[in-house]
Symmetry: C2
Subunit: 203 residues, 2 copies
């Protein structure tokens, strides 16, 4: 398998951590967003939307989207289970993974896209919207603190893909000075430390 990725982007990191948890070997090709390599015709042949990550299988088939890749990997490498073992657990993990994406990762990405100098001249930015999203992220950190006061991992008693999405989101917030602090969010900080004990986090 061949993963097209950028080491600095959060969505490819989700897939790399997922692969590391599965213990699956794969090759990588770096597609640098900073160098606009994702916009080049050669990469657009792999993904017309010019988005990372992309996974290419041995037979040349291509999957273009982070969760589509994770779902496929879960089926061909079922252990350790990261997406749920029965209908109810799968639904719960989907719910929390989508909360992590829609309520954390996407707003955090919008703060970065709309306020960071990195995107200056690359995309149209709306700093006002970035600041609205910054407020929303802070309120979502408070919400997450109440959730993680009740259980050790986002979707329940064990580590799942929802934790991968959430940790990639929160770590990506640092570049926009969105940081969780143990004084104000002790359970969220303890969960973050718990996730960081896993070797896969370095993937």
């Amino acid at each position: 398998m061949l993963l097209y990725h950028d080491p600095r982007a959060p969505n490819p990191r989700r897939v790399r951590i997922f692969l590391a948890e599965k213990g699956v070997a794969y090759d990588t090709i770096e597609v640098s967003i900073a160098a606009s390599e994702h916009q080049k015709p050669e990469f657009r042949k792999k993904n017309p939307l010019a988005l990372l990550p992309v996974l290419e299988l041995e037979d040349g088939r291509v999957l273009r989207e982070s969760m589509a890749i994770c779902r496929y990997l879960e089926e061909v490498h079922p252990e350790p289970n990261l997406l749920g073992v029965d209908a109810w657990e799968r639904a719960q993990i989907e719910q929390w993974n989508r909360h992590a994406e829609l309520e954390l990762l996407l707003p955090i990405a919008q703060v970065f896209r709309n306020t960071n100098a990195f995107w200056n001249g690359r995309i149209k930015q709306a700093p006002e919207f970035g600041e609205i999203m910054r407020e929303q992220v802070c309120s979502r950190f408070d919400w997450l603190e109440t959730e993680l006061a009740r259980r050790p991992y986002l979707a329940g008693p064990r580590f799942t893909v929802a934790d991968i999405t959430a940790v990639c989101a929160i770590d990506f917030g640092k570049v926009s000075n969105l940081r969780i602090k143990a004084e104000t969010h002790p359970h969220l900080a303890a969960w973050h430390a718990r996730v960081y004990e896993r070797p896969s986090i370095k993937a």
Copy 2:
């Protein structure tokens, strides 16, 4: 089963069409976003994030998120299949469903949230960002036109959940004057008419 929904919102509509395709009977409770009923403490007990839809099962268990609900329904009511029959098809449908959501529904929702008078005084709006998203939606309509020139449905030869997400997104664009036209997007318009032949579309 009991579905908390707003008849005018796109995410509850995704679940209603999914349920109609499955032929499953259910009850509904309307939670009016216009009347801010989703913000009331009673509904927040069902979903602390104050988001719709929510599905409550007979035994009182609750699922709070549109795709988590669809995934659960697919497992307990497998026919007709809407999420894929094997690992590769499931990954393909996930990819296209997420493209429909991340590239169409979310930008279309951001146009509405940031430019429509409905939200005036309800949320902080950033009209500049709404206009950036409007441009993106138009470019995504062009992209979709090229995709639907190659196959009858978004994920392949048959109707799937990806078509449900895409049709709910495109119909939701109308309120923001985002419209597909047969003259400029003939394959997209033909696909839309094809989806509208299904009785489930009225759900």
